[in-house]
Amino acid sequence: MKAARSDAEMAAAPAPKPATAMIEIDHVSQVFQTSARQDHLALSDISLTIEDGAFVSILGPSGCGKSTLLYIVGGFVRPTTGAARMKGKTITGPGPDRGPVFQEFALFPWKSVLGNVMYGPRQQGVKQADAEAQSRALLEMVGLKGFENFYPKELSGGMKQRVALARTLAYHPEVLLMDEPFGALDAHTRTRLQNDLLDIWERDRKTVVFVTHSVEEAVFLSDKVVMMTRSPGRIRQVIDIDLPRPRRRSELLLDPRYQKYVVDIERMFDDSGESEPRP
């Protein structure tokens, strides 16, 4: 008894989280019909495993189907062939275990900031008072204390995306699905939100699937970068980003390892004749 317990403790203490598969994408292809009634192959035979607690970026030029792949994991789009699984169960539709954050924010404009964040918990049956307390705490965490009663139209883009993030975190999804969340923001705002996202992520290390076309953003945030090719979207390479955490932007930008990742990935896109992905 005693020995077994100490064994378990020893094994658990220093080792990182055991790598269990959170999301498996299994031979997924996606065909769309164009307006000219022709078939367009958007995704071709994608297989990918995303581990529990990993921050994974899907990187590729626009039109490579990376967002479509995210929507398939979200259950918003049904793959033409193949399947996506979450914890071994085939994904057949959206659910609160997978929380999306969209580039377009997609806030409910008729709800106040607080009302937006409370929406998910209330839908899940959390009591009004509890949902409100949790939502206020979340808004404070994303730096929006004092803006609870504002309407979305009264906020800047960066603030809207903070609300959207808090709204999704509020219903405790196991996986965050981020669809170019900072793509519509100016460079300065984007940097601040990247830093804040990492800070928030460090607290509970939820699994994150992050779609972006910015190499710097992908390297800065991720444990793993999945590079995709232009249409039809295929996985070109999966690169482990072996950089220490917690990451500080000021340190990382000076780190030769970070710079090498960025340059190597950009070169790979250049070599293949892909248009250069830019932030």
Binding site: P96, F102, A106, L107, W110, Q124, K153, E154, T168, P173
Partner: protein
């Protein structure tokens, strides 16, 4: 000075009304025609209409039909329009039907409806219903169609069913557009109310107006026109207040959004 200008701006509609009445008065005096009473004569006839019990009952009966026709139309048209906006099948079923009905003046259907349903309240209310329905359906349809897909996805991820999304996301998101349709519908309700009473003379504000016309009581005719017009302005102003309150969240308030990353 600024206060003076603001006061002037608020006063402008009143000045426009007085101006109109002045032109009317001058024109009526100049033309000196029996069928064209002066503004003063018309306004003088108003208290005698509003003081008359029969006339008041008639006007209230009109307003009751209008309220029922409008309410039923809105209650039916909003759900139908929203469903059309979110379901291609529903839209392609109803669209051709509505396109045929839309340009037909609803009062033109009155004789047929009277033939089927008689000359009573039912026929007139039905015509009002038809008049109000189409703009409300059309605007609800357009509003529902324009709802951002990602907003619905966000709701779906929170666990909202398709029916819940329709009521709790599509309806509020489309509300500004729906209320624009309702406002058009309200004015059309007033128009169809009067025209239905013109065709089926029995009771109502339109009945007073056209009876007076038959009997050559032109001051009453013009007084009724003023009363109906005032009802329209009053109802529209009331509706606009309610609308502004309901969609406060969508009206641009601040020119520049708060800057804060």
């Amino acid at each position: 000075m600024i206060v003076g200008r603001a006061f002037l701006v608020r006063l402008t509609p009143l000045l426009a009304c007085i101006g109109l009445l002045a032109v009317w008065q001058a024109a009526a005096i100049t033309l000196h025609n029996d069928s064209f009473p002066t503004a003063v004569e018309a306004i003088r006839a108003i208290p005698s209409i509003l003081g008359d019990k029969d006339a008041l009952i008639n006007i209230l009966a009109s307003l009751r039909r209008m309220a029922i026709g409008f309410a039923v139309a809105v209650a039916v048209s909003i759900p139908l329009g929203l469903l059309m906006g979110r379901s291609r099948a529903v839209a392609s079923f109803f669209n051709p039907l509505l396109m045929v009905i839309y340009p037909v003046p609803k009062a033109a259907l009155m004789p047929i409806i009277m033939l089927w349903l008689g000359v009573g309240d039912l026929s007139k209310t039905l015509v009002i219903f038809l008049g109000v329905s189409l703009p409300v359906i059309y605007h609800s349809f357009a509003g529902a169609k324009a709802v951002e897909e990602k907003m619905l996805w966000s709701g779906a991820a929170m666990g909202l069913s398709a029916a819940q999304r329709l009521i709790r996301i599509v309806l509020p998101a489309a509300l500004p557009e729906i209320l624009t349709g309702c406002r058009t519908g309200l004015v059309l309700a007033l128009i169809t109310m009067i025209t239905s009473e013109m065709i089926a003379r029995q009771s109502g504000a339109g009945n007073i107006l056209f009876n007076a016309l038959d009997m050559g009581e032109y001051d009453t005719v013009f007084a009724m026109i003023i009363i109906v017009g005032a009802m329209g302005i009053g109802l529209d102003a009331l509706f606009e207040r309610i609308r502004a309150r309901l969609v406060r969240w969508s009206e641009p308030q601040l020119d520049i959004p708060l800057s804060f990353s």
